[in-house]
Amino acid sequence: MRIVLAEDSGLLRESLVSLLSHFGHDVLAAVGTAAELITVVRRDRPDVVVTDVRMPPGFTNEGLRAAIQLRGDHPTLPVLVLSQHTDTESLTELLATGGAGVGYLLKDRVANGERFVAAVREVAGGGTVIDQDIVRRLIAHRRDPLGELSNREMDVLRLMAEGHSNAGIGQALVISEVTVSKHIGAVFAKLGLHADDAGHRRVLAVLAYLRGQTR
């Protein structure tokens, strides 16, 4: 994968570059500000962007704003945002840029190299990855319409939101892939998502309850 990385802490930036290179990926550019990020993405057209949220000059959410702006310019550009906080509002804003090919992870997750790189790959491939902490909290506080989902279906939705494939969900829950598809079908039906929404139904399912949550 050809990756552009934005992270203002030099030490962490170097670590991430060597981590991604270790797994055989090509870091086109590693920058320290949101403005540079936008410039290099426009120049290099990477396969995926990985960016921190809090960046210079204001140290608020410049990285997130840049990610949203880049998605506005190139709606299919995969972006993985690393945040120090499980801020559901930022997540919803990010997902609202179009669904597929986005990720939102707690920054600590990069400490597990294999899973982090897997998440980058998932996002680069058009998948959606949402941090397990956020998903767990949101599901714990969900009421309607997710109230109609069974516990098992909730588990499936949670794993789906975390970016797992059907096979991965089956493995995690120790059930067959066929059963997983059945559960997913039930989730879609209960959330009123129809087949003509095609490939994005997974994302829409996750969005459905994120939106419910933040209202």
């Binding site: 802490s9 991430l16 120090q84 509002e89 920054k107 600590d108 990069v110 400490a111 909290r137």
Partner: protein, 422 residues
Amino acid sequence: MGEGGMTWRSPRLLRTSVPWRGWLYVATGAPLGLVTLAVTLVLTGLGVLLSPVAVGLAMLVSVGLAGLPVGAVERRRLRLLGDAVAPSPHRPLPRVDVRSWVRTRLRETVTWRELGYTMLLATGLWPLDYVTAAVPLVLLVFVASPLLYALFAGPGGLVVLGVDLPTPGSALISAAVAAPLLVLSAYLVAAVSALHAALARMLLVSNETDDRVMELVRSSGRMLDAFDAERRRIERDLHDGTQQRLVALAVMLDMARMRAGDTPELAEMLTRAHGEATTTLAELRELVQGIHPHVLTERGLPAAVAELVTRSPLTVDVRMRIAGRLPSAVESTAFFAVSEALSNIAKHADADRAWVDGRTNGSVLTVEIGDTGRGGVDPAKGSGVRGLADRVAAVGGRVKLSSPRGGPTVLCVEIPCGPEGR
């Protein structure tokens, strides 16, 4: 007793608006009392008749609650006499179900005081109001009787309100008698309306010692601005320095672990070191969050409370009517109060739901945190409420707690946030 009670004996009464306001007060009080009487009689009658079915019982309960709407109307009607708008003395219960609303209201003493007032109004007060309102009108007619005589008198004279006025002279005499009485009736109107209003104020307007509303601390400390700035600085230092270094350390340990595959002992050590680093990271994140939540800094109080609620094990209804940003010390104090209150509720209240209701009213931010738990919180027993009150006091605010045994507990935090409050 308000101003009305002091002025009704004054000889200058006639030059004030008191008789006019008083007349409006009794003239509207009479029909209100009559309607109240009719409605309560019908509800009680039907309720007794239908008491074998649930509807009948509900009607009887609604009679018990009849004081609520009457009280609400009467508190507003007091404005006719120049009173300020009296706030409802009931506990706020936003968006809870009907059953718990009824249960709470039936347990409040103010509900029964309102019912008492309603009974007074429906029996003794409205006839008194009626007569008081009618007297000046009757007298006015007699004062006008010479005019009426001139206009309408027949050959046998004129009958005015049942009084026979056979000659123009008798009409003049009746006017001469009625005129001073009309002036005196202004005093009657003022006195009766003052009496009625005094009863209404006594029974319907909260004097805050009732319902065990405790004001915990009142202080004018101004230290919190400095504390708040310091917390932000610490949060930022940890975030931009320590946290980033720890993440980098964990990444490097992880890569070392992956490369140490052929020396199992080293791999094992590195796995453990990596585990320690990630645990520390998670703990540090919680710590930083507790010091000063970043959502609060970036998006303000409503967003931070919404975020906080997703961390709470309770079902919490949040309503925030706060436009724009408040001074940072106000926001972080209010946030701390909500956070502390919710964690107290989760720990001790035995509640299944809670609510947070925040609003700014001019220069004061008011946040109420309530729960449907068992109540009986005693601030003297060293609960977290004390520390919360201290912290609120440090920004010049105050905390009130209402927590009767059996619940519900409502904690009300008021923090000055306007230009003059700072």
